[in-house]
Symmetry: C2
Subunit: 265 residues, 2 copies
């Protein structure tokens, strides 16, 4: 009774693709893939042996579980056109309050895999935390059992805390990615082998995120308030405008954190 | 002839401490430790069985190698008071032009271990790249042989490229450290276990710094131009001002990179 025996997906993007592939590989039947663009629905449906649709108004979802994996800002628009009969309906978003699904289904919840996904790369879910929430104990148990097929790291979490987690993930993933990918390009443009920086990067991550009071261990020219070195670096970076903008902006953030308002770039 | 048989250090900070300890452990005698503060010199000298001095004007350095490991902005001031007789003189800085040492010694160079150091933590140099440079082939060979005692990763690099490397290291280490340590504190303040974020962090680093054209794989609300989610997050972050400032500033950097000037926070 507490087992999900079939799943449909509303959405065919990075999250839907990786979840559908993983469940299909684990032997859970996938019924239907909806996308606004039929070709996208067909691509994913072809992989997981499902029906592809793009006309949501003329479809009745009856799978045990319907996963809506759309951008937050179109979710309501699409769901208001969907007919969901008896299914448990879950979203996959960090920021949406799960109670907003109440108007679309009697049983509703959240199934939030905390990782970045790309269609091109098959995700190994065994290392991924999945955060679940629902309106009833029975639905939570169903989601727990389903998530456990993919990973042992299943955590029940309410919408308030999940938003905090999402916000932390933005810093950890999006901001770090932005800085590191621009730094990488700077290295390539300046003929520096990325292998020169590997060891420093590894130690940085170990020191920054896993040590008590890590902020007090901040180092570097901005931490020291060494405006002369920073300005010398900014001068050198005149032909690397992307990295220069990051360098100047974040140096100022660090100066603001550790020094008084006289330290301006 | 191409072997360094004794070393003195001008400076007793994080870099000097870690280098002196590592060479001492490898059997290279350490003669003298200079620090402006005698107690600091004595602390390090006690560990590596050396003489501690704080009166540089009444000392003559005669070791095979003199390593000056001071902050860039005091290096000239201290070296101008030092008497160096026949020693090879090297600095350990990413940004200093090695030729500036010419006025202090006949043989001079750079010995730049590319890592962050803390006195409290013993560095395993075997994974650290050391970048060397000098004014003569003979001195370069001596520095190469010396560095090889600590690591197989020894690279000859000129001052121009070394400054590029240092600038890249600032982004990779200082900026990443700042963001991750503040994000960590945000997690702790919001009762989120850091283990929830470990897997995402690992994948982020792998995707950001080691993949071609990583910037094109940027994700997140700022990449999508999703101002509604960003503003919702900033609203939530009103009681987390440090992280809020980072969130707002770097989101704007990403918006600027991927969207037009209408996307302002």
């Amino acid at each position: 009774m507490n087992t999900i025996k079939s799943i449909s997906f509303i959405g065919s993007g990075n999250v839907a693709t990786n979840l559908a592939r993983a469940f299909y590989a684990a032997g859970v039947p996938i019924d239907t893939i909806y996308s606004n663009t039929l070709q996208n629905a067909e691509t994913l449906a072809g992989i997981v042996d499902a029906e592809a649709i793009n006309d949501i108004e003329n479809h009745v979802f009856t799978s045990d579980l319907v996963v809506v994996a759309l951008k937050d800002d179109v979710l309501d628009k699409v769901l208001s056109k969907a007919t969901i009969k008896g299914s448990l309906l879950v979203h996959t978003s960090g920021s949406i309050d799960t109670a907003t699904l109440k108007k679309y289904a009697g049983n509703y919840g959240c199934f939030y895999p905390f990782q970045t996904f790309r269609k091109e790369v098959e995700t190994d879910f065994s290392e991924v935390h999945i955060f679940i929430e629902s309106n009833s104990e029975e639905s939570t148990l169903k989601l727990y059992n389903l998530a456990r097929i993919l990973t042992s790291k299943v955590v029940e979490m309410n919408s308030y805390d999940r938003k905090s987690l999402h916000i932390a993930g933005v810093g950890l993933n999006n901001f770090t990615h932005f800085i590191l990918s621009v730094t990488r390009q700077y290295c390539i443009d300046n003929h520096l082998k990325t292998e020169y920086l590997t060891n420093l990067l590894t130690q940085t991550v170990n020191n920054s995120f896993y040590i008590e009071n890590a902020l007090s261990m901040q180092t570097g020219p901005a931490r020291r308030g060494d405006l002369e070195v920073i300005k010398d670096h900014l001068e050198r970076l005149k032909n690397a405008p992307k990295y220069r903008k990051i360098y100047k902006t974040i140096s100022q953030l660090i100066l603001d954190e550790f020094h008084d308002e006289k330290y301006k770039l």
